[in-house]
Subunit: 419 residues, 2 copies
Amino acid sequence: MVSREVYDLVRECAERSKAAARKLAIASETAKNAALERIAESLLARQAEILAANSIDMENGRAKGLSSALLDRLLLTPERIAAMAEGVREVMALPDPVGEITELKPRPSGIKVGKMRVPLGVIGIIYEARPNVTVDAAALCLKAGNSVLLRGGSEAFNSNTKLAQILSEALMAAGLPNDAVQLIPTTDRASIKAMATLDDLIDVLIARGGESLMSALAGATVPLFKHGKGICHTYIDLDADLAKAIEIAFNAKVSRPGVCNAMETLLVHREIAPRVLPELGRRLQEAGVELVGDETVQQLIPGTGAATEEDWATEYLALKLAIRVVDSFAEAVEHIQRYGSQHSEAIVTENYATALRFLEQVDAAAVFVNASTRFNDGGQFGLGAEIGISTQKLHARGPMGIRELTTTKFVVFGNGEVR
Amino acid sequence: MVSREVYDLVRECAERSKAAARKLAIASETAKNAALERIAESLLARQAEILAANSIDMENGRAKGLSSALLDRLLLTPERIAAMAEGVREVMALPDPVGEITELKPRPSGIKVGKMRVPLGVIGIIYEARPNVTVDAAALCLKAGNSVLLRGGSEAFNSNTKLAQILSEALMAAGLPNDAVQLIPTTDRASIKAMATLDDLIDVLIARGGESLMSALAGATVPLFKHGKGICHTYIDLDADLAKAIEIAFNAKVSRPGVCNAMETLLVHREIAPRVLPELGRRLQEAGVELVGDETVQQLIPGTGAATEEDWATEYLALKLAIRVVDSFAEAVEHIQRYGSQHSEAIVTENYATALRFLEQVDAAAVFVNASTRFNDGGQFGLGAEIGISTQKLHARGPMGIRELTTTKFVVFGNGEVR
């Protein structure tokens, strides 16, 4: 059960967020940009304060024996602070989606009906170690006219507290409500449950974290934007161009294996396998990729291990790849539907009809023909800054940009009409 | 806890739904329309079977002592069956949203990125007495390429079973998967909980029912389309046209008081109250509307009762109206934000700036200037048939038409690009 004091504390923060959201929702783009500029300036001007707070977190982290990878994620440097400020200016440059009215049409009754784009309201963000999320996510939410209620990880508590303070003060200095950015002032685990159930105050939760965070959010009544895992496939079709196939598959696995849009399983049509797998396998192995596959693959690429059922369902996030030879296009699609996580799926083919069939039949956030799955990214897709990649189907699917942080309302212009 | 047998039964149905959804997702508009035409014909041709099944439900209902209102909702007649068939043909006439690719743009990397509209997949519908929902909702979901898993109320079980059978057989006769429409073959309460947690198989739940259904759905892991209540306001501004104000307010309350877009509270600016309330009050009273209000209202309209705090927060759904006099536009907006359910909110004013401020500041599914809240309806807004009115902010807000039963996926056309 949620401890009463933590719940009350979070509720009080969320009430202030909601009050601030009402003011922010009607703030002009000029006012929001002025606040973002003030935030960017403050981050640079108050670098020493940020580094001092961060050094406490780093010291605590070392004392707690955090891994060097985690410590690196936690670390702030003058360069990283400058990058945060730069990120805020990039968000500033995005067009403000709020207030646009589309599809305004007269109806037979005489009323004119359109849709006005408006902020979601209060966005809760629950995230782990990296303190830059505090600034990146808050800036994007603010530009879209939303209040942000942040709940960072305990390792970064001092850094996050300082960053949230700077953001809040910059907002106030720019004439916007300082409560529009708040950090929950506790890292008690109960605060996550509290946020997840304040559906009268928080409009949506963005959760960035692993399995344990997701299970803490089971039973949430506030809608969630989920960042699911990426078990991504590349299928090299019978009619693939060999050179493209090798480049695309190599890139999808090797260019950045630790991210969600990296390929985890390669599917190859049986007829083309003898021509593509020996060379591709060698290149992957030279790049340090561990290969597992079915019997045919093991014969075609020396040094390949045996793939188990579990391999097809694993997101390695590492230099490891499962390879399977399939007898047909249908078998490839069947494999993707069975094991894929509906994230990023690619086909390599020169056959027009096969390409279109793949686009139609494969159900995923992004489906690619003759391109690397690594392109599944807000920047690459032209959305500007992104708040994450959604693998859910409702509201937002794929990279989520500033527009996905808004909703619409119907607006009706009448002249005395009744029904 | 969910009883194991019921859970397994529902899970099995949902698995068949998902398999059918994959086939339906790539069915052509021609094939879907042929199936809908076959459904319409079958409903008419098999009217006797439907009426026989319905008469069992009616008999059971009378034995159970259902109210005459409930019995009327349950009753099917040749006319009502004809209306269902007509509804199916109207859905047939809606344009198929599936497959459209929008926003296709070349990116600096060379890839072309667009968004393809695709079905949601499996839609679960949980509803109460009225058997026509079985046909109306299923037709709309099918046209959008979705499988439908229906869980109707126990009172209509025989009618629903027959209707689902007719739909399923018509699909099969038209060459589409018969499992695309299924009725859960039990009305055990545990089947609702089971549907609500099958998030690996069901993409969204549409729940049509009262508070007890909503509380049964607490803890759902499948996303829900909620039909919230409608505590709708009309605000008669200082600068209102008197004739329009009276017509709009009268219509919003009286034309159909039992529906969610009917007005429940009238707000009137203090300066115009003496000119508008006496006449409007008399007309409302003549139409049988019971009035409650603050002291000023009680003075201006003889026979008005005293409004309590509870009145401002009540959805009467009846010929009863709460009236409050406010000192300013700001006080009206404040009242709406505090007591409104973000459904339908209207202002009556001839003042340009005030009208725009109302549109901007009031947060609701639909905001009206100089028109009756009763227009908040899919047909009136030009969406065609609707599956309900959403008061949530994510994915769908306001009347939900066929488009809201779909999602998008990113599609990428490449020519060997890597990142």
